[in-house]
Amino acid sequence: MSLTAFLYILALIMAGVLLFGAVYFVIMLTDLECDYINPIDLANNLNTYVMPEMVAHLFLFVMFLLLGEWMSMLLNLPLVGWNVVKVVNARQFYDATEVFRTLPKHKRENFVKVAFYLICFFYYLYSMIITLVNESTPDPQQVGY
């Protein structure tokens, strides 16, 4: 099994985990709206997962780049750019004192991430199957897309 196939399997699982993470963020933010938790607890809870998510996503991006999977890389480029801008400006963490003010923005950002990771999940699934099927068929019959 080639490295590319292995990468797509890993990407599939990670997309699932990241999707679950984004959904968790959305639900935590709506819990804040309904007064189930306070801003400090929310900030502490979510901030532990912000950097791991960015690192995981960056890792996937770099692997796609190195292995020559251009479509997948281009798909992830916007999100990597967004994350880099946030880290450079030190804005990636949730600030307990500001979170009520910026709540709609955060919710929207996380909704978009949920949709994005969902699309990524299906794209990686598709790519993984194509890669695996192509590996086991002789050259003339391989599918190009």
Partner: protein, 550 residues
């Protein structure tokens, strides 16, 4: 005050006796130390109403999502397992029948195949009856982890199945393991549904129960993905020696236990549902405490204090359901017709639901995903094809139901489902060969539409309605009865129709089978008339309606 509250709180009229006990005891207590704050029966009623209002009007939060996930793991495992056995049976053919002759080479014999697949369904029937009854009798919490433990143990056990030295082949051992697995899976149906239903908010109850059921869709996709990954990992070994496929099916089957193991802790530590504590155990304070610690929410301190006062005078008057009571309740046509409606509709649906899957191999061939070639190639393509098929029809159907059921209502969706299925099955049944010959794509589209409307339709609603439409003390038993009648339909479809499939030539009887399914859809449509619409009503309103005359 206590007499007017009777029908709401206490159908069997024990409150009268209660209140006099309260009054006597509280007088004695006050006389004794004057510090204890007892509740009179009026306060008990108010506490009950407040506690239930808190459950019913809670905002949708992480607690509800967690409840859906934990309850849904059973259904995830159920459909993972059904898909896994289809694939594993294929793989076992390559391992154990590699030396058979001619056509039978590399494939499990039909009879054995049929029994392996049907074993879980048979166990399910028993599990649904038994666990449905037990959860009403002993309480939801007491038995909730048990069926998941059975599922985990039997999944792992099945993946270690082997031949005995004399007599029983690996298929027999697997049959026994899967039969007991079925008992566990069957037990999951009523208990998970009732727990979700009793913890849910009135507004979102349909969506929550539907979301629990929708985990089935994920189970199929997960099973297909896992099988692709495991096959890919073993590719080299398989191409070298076909017997290495033995590892593959065992790993695929065993991995099904993993989500269950994760969810087990959460299941064992769930509090008892507030409605069971209130209605059957008559312990209002324990219920209020459980609600506070799980659903929570910020309320002012005064309410908190009164809700959380320990009950000093109240004896927990346990009001367990008995079969005599069951008989008297359902002797009335008004109550019996609901049970009959839910059971017959579920039965009618499952016959078609499990029967239509007999066609999936034809569909796969039609869309070019049943590869002939090396075992690896064929199995890979079968899994990939199944993913596509399920993502097209089944999965969207589940989720459309989740998002619309609280707006459209259960009966509406069930009617729509049965009508559309009736039409689709009539078309497919009477024009089977014409469609197949003329346009394969059309056939696939009709098939996918049928799967979509099964799930945006009776498959989900027949699961949701029994978990709402009965009074608390019978809710789980009746859900178990309805579910079991459904599974009886599934067994008939798998064991019975499977045999009929090849009458008159390979796959020649299938058009007639589909016509029979259309007939069952008509039956389901008619019996949908008997089930009540439960959208937007709290569980108390629904139980009260069935007690009205008493």
């Amino acid at each position: 005050m206590s007499s007017s509250g009777n029908s709401l709180q206490d159908p069997l009229n024990t409150t009268h006796r209660h209140s006099s006990e309260f009054v006597a005891h509280s007088k004695a207590d006050n006389f004794r130390d004057g510090f204890t704050s007892d509740i009179s029966s009026d306060d008990a009623l108010a506490v009950r109403r407040r506690a239930l209002a808190e459950v019913d009007n809670a905002k949708f939060g992480w607690f509800h999502v967690k409840a859906c996930l934990v309850a849904g793991i059973g259904f995830f495992t159920d459909s993972y397992d059904i898909f896994a056995i289809n694939l594993c049976s294929l793989i076992m053919g390559y391992v154990y029948y590699a030396n058979a002759e001619g056509d039978a080479k590399n494939s499990t014999p039909t009879k054995i195949d049929m029994w392996i697949k049907g074993s879980t369904q048979l166990g399910c029937i028993i599990g649904q009856f038994v666990f449905g009854y037990l959860s009403d009798r002993l309480g939801r919490k007491r038995i909730y982890g048990v069926e998941l433990i059975i599922i985990i143990v039997c999944t792992i056990g099945g993946s270690f199945a082997g031949n005995t030295a004399r007599g029983l082949s690996v298929y027999w051992i697997l049959f026994i393991w899967r039969f007991v697995l079925g008992i566990g899976i069957g037990g999951d149906y009523p208990v998970s549904a009732i727990i979700t239903s009793e913890f849910a908010t009135t507004k979102n109850r349909g969506a929550m129960i539907a979301a629990v059921f929708a985990m089935q869709g994920f189970g199929i996709v997960a099973a297909a993905i896992v099988s692709i990954i495991v096959l890919a990992a073993f590719k080299g070994a398989i191409d070298g020696d076909q017997q290495n496929l033995d590892y593959v099916w065992r790993i695929i089957m065993g991995l099904g236990a993993v989500p269950g193991i994760i969810a087990l802790y959460f299941r064992l530590t769930i509090p008892e549902t507030p409605r069971y504590t209130l209605d059957i155990e008559n312990d209002a304070h324990k219920a209020a405490y459980d609600i506070k610690t799980t659903i929570g929410g910020s309320k002012d301190a005064a309410e908190d204090r009164s809700l959380l006062q320990p009950s000093t005078a109240q004896q927990a008057r346990v009001q367990k359901p008995t079969w005599t009571e069951f008989y008297h309740h359902f002797k009335k046509w008004r109550n019996f017709k609901v049970l009959m409606g839910t059971s017959v509709t579920w039965f009618a649906l499952d016959v078609a639901f499990y029967g239509i899957n007999l066609n999936s191999s034809i569909i796969l061939q039609a869309i070019g995903f049943s590869g002939k070639g090396t075992p690896y190639h064929e199995l890979l393509k079968t899994s990939a094809g199944n993913i596509i098929l399920n993502l097209l029809g089944t999965l969207p159907g589940y989720w459309v139901t989740v998002f619309t059921i609280d707006r459209l209502g259960r009966r509406t969706i069930q009617f729509i489902g049965f009508v559309v299925l009736l039409i689709l099955f009539c078309i497919l049944g009477f024009a089977y060969h014409q469609i197949l010959d003329r346009s394969v794509a059309g056939f696939v589209v009709l098939f996918t539409l049928a799967q979509f409307f099964q799930n945006f339709g009776p498959n989900t609603t027949t699961f949701i309605i029994p978990s709402e439409a009965f009074p608390t003390r019978f809710r789980s038993t009746c859900h178990g009865i309805s579910a079991a009648s459904g599974k009886i339909g599934a067994v008939i479809a798998q064991l019975g129709f499977f045999q009929l499939k090849n009458r008159g030539g390979k796959n020649a009887f299938i058009p007639h089978l589909i016509q029979i399914f259309a007939l069952f859809m008509l039956v389901g449509l008619i019996f949908t008339w008997f089930v009540p619409e439960t959208k937007g009503k709290s569980l108390e309103e629904l139980s009260e309606e069935s007690e009205r005359d008493e």
